[in-house]
Amino acid sequence: MKLFIFLFLALLLGACSDNGSSVNNPPPQEVSVKVAVILPLNESGSIHWRNTADWFEENLQKAFSRSHNSSVKLDLEWIDEDSSNMKELSATLIKNDDIKAIIGPLKEDKLDTLAGYLAIANKHGPRKTLIAPKATDAEIVRKFGDEKWFFSLTETDATLCGNLLSSAKAMDAKSVSLLTSSANEEKTFLDWFAFQAVELGLQINAIESFNDTSDVKTVAENFFSTSQDFVICIPANYMEAIEILKAHKKQKSTARLLFSENAVDPEILKYPEAEGLEAVTPGASPESGFDIAYFTKFDIYPGIGSAQFYDALMLVAFAQTEMLASDDSLFLDEHIKNLVKQNSYANSWAWEPFGMSGVLEKIQKGQANIDFSGASSSLVFNESSYSIISETIYTHWIAKNQKFYPLNYKSAYGNNRTNNSEISYKWYFTHILPQIQGIDSTRHIEYPPLKGNYALLVATTRTWGEYRHESGVYSMYHKLKNYGYDDDHIILIAEKDIITSDYNPAKGTWVDYNEEQIIDSLNADYKISELEPQDVLKILTGQKSERLPHVIQSDSTQNIFVYWSGHGDRGNLGWKIGGTRSGSFSYDDMQTLISTLSKEKKFRKMLWVVETCYSGSVCKAFDDVGAEGALCMTATNENETSKGLMYYAPFNQYLANSFSYNFMSILDNSTISSQDNYDIPLSDMYSELYKATLGSHVSIYNSQNYGNLKLNKIGEFLVPVQ
């Protein structure tokens, strides 16, 4: 009888349990983490963000319900980025101790502002984690990519630019052109196009930009009136894309076109010119199935960025779970890094509840080597800081029959569903570079004995916002002084206003490229604002006057070293940009200068080191004049911008540009000390600079009229003859 009652009760309990699966059983404990979500919420497509968040929460709770352990819930505070003053919002968020993580915003300028505030606040208080679903501006990633609390889930437009170019290469392009909006958010393309085209062995035909929809028609028609092979088109919106397509048709151009993401807009499909349009955009991993699952759930397809947003939420939830399980004092960002460090390119579905539950269980058990993929990618981050996603999946679209279709997918490394779009830098260094640069290591030129040295150091910008140019010149000044130069042999032209700026928290000091604070002992001869570009010629040719009391009185037995740092555009080195844009030192000026100095025998050897954008476009004058003994190294070739480096959060400024930073770092690591030890052959200096400087091609001019670069060393310019 007892057995019967027992069995009856057991059956009854079993029947009761059938009324609901474990899906409905609340987990033992729920811990909430507050996350600020800053996204564009007023646009018609904002439904995607809410859909994604709701779906993630649903999947997260399903995943936790499988393990029956304590669970994490994300308490989202939604903020519309378009109706927020980002400075005020940043201050509010920083003060709110409840908020542990921030996801967004999407717009580059807003993200830059928020990250700038966090860079300072996170140094002092409990750190808040910032996850940018789509930080495509290379500048932002360069500034904040090494910060512990910053994460970016999309590669920058530099990678997209590389993808567009590698597609052109695959489509058998011989030469490429760039037709781009000059809008700020597209500037990465202008920065990287020329560099990457050269890397791929593509000849650059033209680079043209337009301001907005009002002038794109005129610019594009002129552009397509010339012969073009393959054109990368970067419109700021679909209307600009249409104007480009119309101009292409009007001029009967045979050029093949490939667009970036702003052309992929359903509105463009209404125009017959859009038939056949091709474009490449960042997207979700096809292997995750995210797009398909989203579509079946919501009857619409996700917006671009939805998969990255989903992954951002997932990373916070996983990290919070690890934080609970480990009960340590690490910040949320440290837990994220702990987790993603173990990820590999091998896929492991974790965004669906089943896979997610497996990951959560491992985290809760404290297991190591958890390898998980997300909705957008395999969630592998850069090895140096584990903050920047290493692989974004790009979708190549085509418009056909008034619809957009994905043709294929690309990623940095490729797998069974995506093509490899990696650019082969190693191959370039070993095979192409020597041919392009044509460094002559055999020619020998007889020079008279060296009897003296002069240096001209020029920072052509001013104001706090151009900090890196002045600080670069000051660093070079200190190096020369350390090598033995006296002030009588250095002409220093710099405004010195960063030292006295109200933005400077320690007036009377400046911070060098290694973040070392240095007390001002700079003996500047002129402020840049006191001079005109033509004064450079007068100073170098020794034309002393009341206005120019400090000049270089050199002859054919003395070496001259010039270090120049500032802005530049094609054909010009800028002068006094920053506060006031008031002039330039042009290609013609450079040509005249070199010719004059050469004719008047004002130098034995002369080395210019030029740190500006497009510096090659001016310094190619060295090649064209061909003066014996004159050599020039530039940060960029004719078509490239130079890139900032060493972002210093307390100043919200870069401390150096990439080329100058590398130049000085190489000197730091050398043994230059005396006349007897000049160290570093110029050829080595150049190749080291070339390899270390990312984002531009360090170039050398007039090496054919200088002599053997392996035998000539940098030290004879930097260490003065006693």
């Binding site: 999407l106 717009k107 809008a183 700021a236 807009d265 096809p286 699952a293 397809y301 089943f354 043709l407």
Partner: protein, 351 residues
């Protein structure tokens, strides 16, 4: 419009794009079915190894499963293995959780028959009152499961029969492997149709990317290289690709070399006309519809055939002519009946 609006509009755009890739199903709103609620019914779907993302067969099954979940108010656990070992563990998990998870009706859906061999080592992997098993594919190992499949023999026959008439008389066939039944059926159908038209036997000597059954469906690089190799060596007029997701690489080669080559190919599994101007038609394999129809019967507890093969006749397979080749439609129509009859004969013989 800036990047932000791009985000806004892409959903509409993607909807227009990708809906066209899936089969029509008139089930846009959820079907209220008292027999199933999410806490009572579970579909546990295990996809082929690294299968999702093929823009073809596996994506169609994935779509069909997710659509069924929505339409029939069932729960789902989608499982993507990356090796046969992990697939084995995942399938074991399905059986281990029987009753523990509280579901009354549970369906193990295997999107491929490549896991059939695992059943030999697991005699307890059987259907029960609670658990049903559906294999999308062939049941040659006679496992305890429903086996539903779509034959491409008929549609492939129709394709082979027609393209010869249209003047494409130099044809190459590329298969993922020679042992997978679905590949064999499609190639046989295409060969038979072509042979019927030309009185010639199709050459397929070098046409397989892999040797082992179930492999060769994601060999993107191999497919690309094959396309270039075949083109350079043989200069075929037409390549018939039965290589799963790898077929997109054939199409990529066609696009990238469009100025210097001129061979044709066809879409396989889904409509691929957008991939190249040289794709005059696609052979659709509507596995999403197959999944939906099975789940419908399973939920409604209707009688279900243990073995079912969707055909050209039953519209689970079809030929879709590309827009720019609409004048080819009549040629395909001419051989539809012949292809349907040939498929019936072929399938009857196979039984």
């Amino acid at each position: 419009m800036g990047k932000m609006k791009f985000f806004v509009f892409l959903s509409i755009l993607l909807a227009t794009c990708l809906t066209s890739c899936f089969s029509d199903s008139n089930s846009s709103s959820a079907i209220s079915e008292p027999g199933c609620t999410p806490d009572k019914c579970l579909i546990y779907a295990v996809y082929s190894v690294a299968g999702i993302g093929d823009q073809g067969y596996q994506d169609l099954v994935y779509y069909g499963v997710n659509k069924a979940v929505k339409d029939y108010s069932v729960s789902v656990e989608n499982v993507q293995p990356y090796s046969l070992d992990s697939a084995e563990k995942f399938i074991q998990t399905f059986f281990d959780e029987t009753k523990k998870d509280g579901y009354k009706k549970r369906l193990l859906l295997l999107s491929t028959d490549e896991y059939n061999g695992l059943f030999k080592d697991h005699p307890k992997w059987k259907q029960s009152k609670t658990n049903s098993i559906l294999v999308i594919g062939n049941n040659r190992d006679s496992i305890d499961a429903y086996a539903w499949d779509v034959s491409l023999y008929g549609a492939s026959y129709q394709a082979g029969r027609t393209i010869y008439e249209l003047g494409l008389d130099s044809v190459g066939v590329l298969g993922a492997n020679s042992k997978t039944k679905a590949v064999q059926d499609a190639i046989q159908g295409f060969s038979d149709g072509y042979k019927k038209a030309s009185s010639r036997t199709l050459e397929v000597d070098y046409g397989f990317l892999e040797e082992e059954e179930g492999t060769g469906f994601d060999e993107n690089l191999a497919a690309y290289l094959f396309a270039s190799f075949v083109y350079m060596k043989h200069q075929f007029d037409f390549i018939f690709p039965v290589i799963g997701g790898g077929s997109v690489e054939i199409y990529r080669f066609m696009r990238e070399m469009q100025d210097s080559i001129s061979f044709y190919s066809c879409g396989i599994d889904v409509n691929q006309e957008h991939q190249s101007d040289n794709i005059p038609f696609s052979i659709e394999k509507k596995t999403d519809l197959l999944v939906l129809d099975f789940v419908s019967k399973w939920v409604l507890e209707e009688e279900i055939s243990n073995n079912f093969i969707g055909t050209l006749d039953s519209k689970y397979a079809d030929i879709v002519v590309s827009k720019n080749y609409s004048d080819w439609q009549s040629h395909f129509d001419k051989y539809l009946k012949e292809a349907q009859d040939a498929e019936h004969s072929y399938l009857e013989k196979a039984q």
